[in-house]
Symmetry: C2
Subunit: 292 residues, 2 copies
């Protein structure tokens, strides 16, 4: 049996062809994300993307928004706590596919107050990161902070840091005074430090990205980085109580560098960075090996 | 001497003609806000708006964005602490005007960490509310929480609650699942309560306005009110330490009702509501009486 894994997100898909030992022997990218396709287009897009990779015994494991309600077929959220065997058992068998296809479900969680959370795609990255006990952080549009205990994902929170940054940078009154997006490390650190220092959190600080410019104490060129620092610092401040040492960060190198600055300011220095694409490939391989 | 006051904001202006005792004897509204005008259009707009009101000895007091850098003439921010006499003394005399015109400066503040804040227009409302010791809250696009001690505004914070609501409702992934904006009191209260209860603040809760819909535990019709509750509750939660009893709320009746729900959930029930238009008129009158 051979295995192919596909990370099929909203805006693009990435396919991994695995060797018998789990090594990625080929990789293909496509811009045909799940949000851009009608339901009946998925089989052909998958066949095109995997052309030449499929044999009679090939299994294809799909993760991400492909399994959302508006995707190809809905793979309902599996409630936490969840472990790899549970995810594999809940994987949705797809019939109208060019191979033996399975869609990994997303995860849902509720905290003690009943507040709901969902993730889709990140569960596969968490599995691929090794599932060591502690906090696993997946920064992004909707950052996830997951708790892992005894090989299970026991719960998680979401902070909309990336989306808030985009909204405030591009659509708000703060953004009107910003000039450019050139990274400014000092401005980022100032924002993160202020967010971590403020006992009331980051909300009463956001407007300073405008007020400090109006009063001449922040350069318009520094607004974007300052705002990024405020929001990432605010995310770390809000989740600080969930943050022990031994934190795993799953993302690209640029985001990892920013989060490591904010985490270090919060006293968290034992941070392992796992590349997001590596994590999803390893997670797809792991789930593929557990499918019945 | 007769007095006219003008609240000239970004999107509209409102003029008040005062009787000799400070009573408003006439009022005019215009959609010709400061953000919609070129600098050389201000004199004519003012003359048109005040037609028939001006006598040789009439003084006109202007407050709001008319005094911003991008307004008619910049009336630089006066640093806190500030009192009515200081605001009147710093009012900018305007020469190219159809009457004896003065623009009230905005206020600036810096907290102990150096975080900047500015307001423009709200200082006049705070004066008009009576300047009693305590916390004065002006909910809105950029809510202001001001501290008044001994007849002076000693400092203030800004929380971008109104703008965040608009961005999240209209431009974010949360808004995609929202259906309509019909007020839903139970959803508002649920959001406010959750924001006040969460020790990590409101940031980790915003995404629940999507997740709870996906899991069937929140109706799409309730998302707008739930989000409003989260944000107003989050604002009150962040400012709770600045909140004693004896709080004054300056805004319209609809916003006042929402904030009173959130404040009551936080245990603040001694709330005096002052109508925003009444407050600005009284503030303009008060500053007018102090002009040299």
């Amino acid at each position: 049996m051979t295995l192919v894994g596909v990370d099929w997100g909203s805006s693009n898909l990435r396919a991994y062809r695995f060797g018998p030992d789990g090594a990625v022997i080929d990789r293909r990218d496509s811009p045909r994300g799940a949000a851009r396709l009608k339901r009946d287009e998925f089989p052909q897009v998958l066949a095109d993307t995997l052309e030449g990779w499929l044999q009679a015994d090939t299994r294809v494991v799909l993760a991400g928004m492909v399994g959302a309600r508006a995707g190809w077929h809905e793979a309902p959220y599996l409630p936490c706590p969840a472990d790899p065997a549970g995810l594999a058992a809940a994987a949705l068998r797809v019939e109208d596919a060019p191979a033996h296809c399975f869609i990994v479900p997303g995860l849902s969680a509720r905290d003690a107050s009943g507040v709901a959370n969902v993730m889709r795609g990140e569960e596969t990255q968490i599995l691929g990161s090794g599932l060591s006990d502690g906090t696993i952080v997946l920064p992004g549009t909707h950052s996830k902070w997951a708790r892992v205990e005894g090989g299970r994902i026991t719960g998680f929170s979401t902070i909309m840091t990336g989306e808030m940054y985009a909204l405030l940078r591009n659509n708000s009154l703060l953004g009107q005074l910003a000039e450019g997006d050139t990274p400014d490390e000092a401005a980022f650190t100032l924002g993160a430090q202020r967010a971590l220092d403020n006992p009331a959190g980051v909300l009463p600080l956001l407007f300073s990205a405008r007020a400090d410019v109006l009063l001449g104490s922040l350069a318009p060129q520094a607004v974007a980085s300052y705002l990024s620092g405020l929001l990432i610092g605010g995310e770390v401040a809000a989740m600080r109580d969930a943050t022990g040492q031994g934190l795993v960060l799953i993302c690209n190198a640029m985001l990892a560098a920013r989060y490591q600055v904010a985490l270090a300011l919060a006293g968290v220095t034992d941070v392992t960075v796992v590349d997001g694409a590596d994590a999803v490939a390893r997670g797809l391989w792991r789930i593929g090996g557990l499918l019945k």
